[in-house]
């Protein structure tokens, strides 16, 4: 099992557990944290935008071109931070277990 610590838009702090290998987006979506994940993980809807806490930013793989383009498009609507990521592009596994994220505002 892998863990994620999440702060919802309402400021609630929760710790979720999931099967290792799950996309972070699905874990957050299925726990009703405010993540919609409408497009299913194709970087085409931007509804799984999260802020990864500073100490985790460098530990994640680089953003893909598609992810970067979507985040750029989101910038017209919400604040972007260095830790801005699409949760659908992060796999929750042994390497990422314990990650802390905050759900970004809806666009």
């Amino acid at each position: 099992m892998a863990q994620v610590h999440v702060t919802t838009r309402e400021g609630e702090v929760r710790t979720l557990e999931a099967e290792g290998g799950s996309p972070l987006m699905e874990v957050l979506r299925d726990a009703s944290t405010g993540v919609e994940g409408t497009c299913g993980g194709m970087c085409s809807c931007g509804t799984c935008h999260v802020y990864v806490v500073d100490e985790w930013v460098a530990r994640l793989p680089e953003r893909s071109e598609d992810e970067a383009m979507m985040l750029e498009a989101l910038e017209d609507f919400v604040e972007l931070r260095p830790g801005s990521r699409l949760a659908c592009q992060i796999v929750l596994d042994d390497d990422t277990s314990g990650i802390t994220v905050e759900i970004a505002p809806a666009a």
Binding site: C39, M42, C45, M69, M70, A73, F77, A107
Partner: protein, 337 residues
């Protein structure tokens, strides 16, 4: 190589009528006048349905029917909006090149829509008063351009509005192969003799000269052939543009043109007779045009990948090798051709 496979000759059940995929190339879709501005029409060609439309400014688009969003058939209930075609389901709009130009409710357009076209469209040009589409099974860009045809493109000096369209229940390669099968002209068509002929291949072009200039033909890929027939110094031109409707069904289309000879002249009479002869059986001609005799063979034959040929047969195998360049398929499929 080298030996005759007797088993193959004796047993025909494993032979197929049409083992060929749809070839790549430029193909006639329709006449330009048949598609009005803001019109949408579903057409079946290249083994599938397509949505043909003309934008407000007159651009023609030919798209895959199914919306990349949720799969609605754009040709049933879709609408032309300015330069775009609009899907009826959620009003996503696409231009003639398949770029998604509008999603009327999403705040953030999917990034891929900025990077590339997402609806499959075929490259289209309007030429000779017709709509032509480039078909390539892997969506590659056109590798050659349609030629200039004086007989149909020059504003003056040419005339003739005869056209024909026939359905053949076979693949386009089988139809074209008759162009290099000179022996059949004597036996199937009843020509006086097997005409002497010369064939040359150059890239996507095939040149045929039959009976020392009586018929001079040039083919441009699988979808366009131009034949000039000359008798007593008078010429008539047949422009042939066959469509691969399906792997085993082809629509043969032809336009017949000749020089604008004066009314009542001997030349005009000869030109008209040549045209009659191209299509069917002309009065006083000893051999039959294709309409009356070729279909019975095309509609029932099987394709022999390893035919038993004899001396006197035309360059059938060279033709097949040339035609193979238009197939984009896996090795097993190509091996059957």
């Amino acid at each position: 190589m080298g030996a005759i496979n007797l088993q193959q000759l004796l047993e025909s059940q494993q032979l197929e009528r049409c083992p060929f995929p749809i070839p790549a190339g430029w193909f006639h879709v329709d006449f330009s006048e048949n598609l009005a501005k803001e019109e949408i029409r579903n057409v079946y060609i290249f083994g599938q349905e397509w949505v043909l439309f003309r934008s407000e400014s007159g651009q023609v688009g030919m798209t895959d029917p199914y919306c990349p969003h949720l799969g609605a058939h754009i040709g049933h209930g879709g609408k032309v909006v300015g330069e775009n075609i609009r899907c009826p389901f959620h009003h996503w709009e696409y231009d003639t090149e398949g770029w998604c130009k509008k999603i009327p409710y999403g705040k953030v357009a999917p990034p891929i829509t900025k990077k590339q076209a997402i609806l499959r469209t075929l490259p289209v040009v309007e030429k000779y008063g017709m709509i032509w589409a480039w078909y390539h099974p892997k969506c590659e860009a056109p590798s050659w351009e349609l030629p200039y045809i004086p007989a149909i493109e020059d504003e003056s000096g040419w005339t003739g509005d005869r056209k024909g369209s026939w359905t053949a229940h076979t693949a386009i390669q089988e139809i074209a192969e008759n162009g290099v099968d000179f022996a059949h002209l004597k036996f199937l068509h009843g020509a006086e003799a097997i005409p002497p002929a010369e064939v040359n291949f150059d890239g996507h072009i095939i040149d045929i000269n039959m009976a020392n200039g009586y018929i001079v033909g040039r083919g441009y890929g699988p979808g366009l052939n131009i034949f000039e027939f000359t008798q007593n110094g008078v010429s008539a031109t047949m422009i042939s543009y066959t469509q691969p409707i399906d792997v085993d069904k082809s629509q043969m289309n032809m336009s017949f043109r000749h020089k604008d000879y004066p009314e009542g002249s001997q030349e005009l009479m000869i030109a008209k007779k040549i045209v009659d002869h191209m299509i069917g059986e002309a009065e006083g001609e000893e051999s039959a045009g294709f309409e009356s005799v070729d279909f019975i063979v095309w509609n029932h034959k099987k394709y022999r990948p390893n035919p038993l040929l004899c001396d006197g047969d035309g360059p059938v195998l060279q033709f097949r090798k040339w035609f193979k360049q238009f197939y984009v398929a896996d090795e097993d499929t190509l091996a059957k051709i």
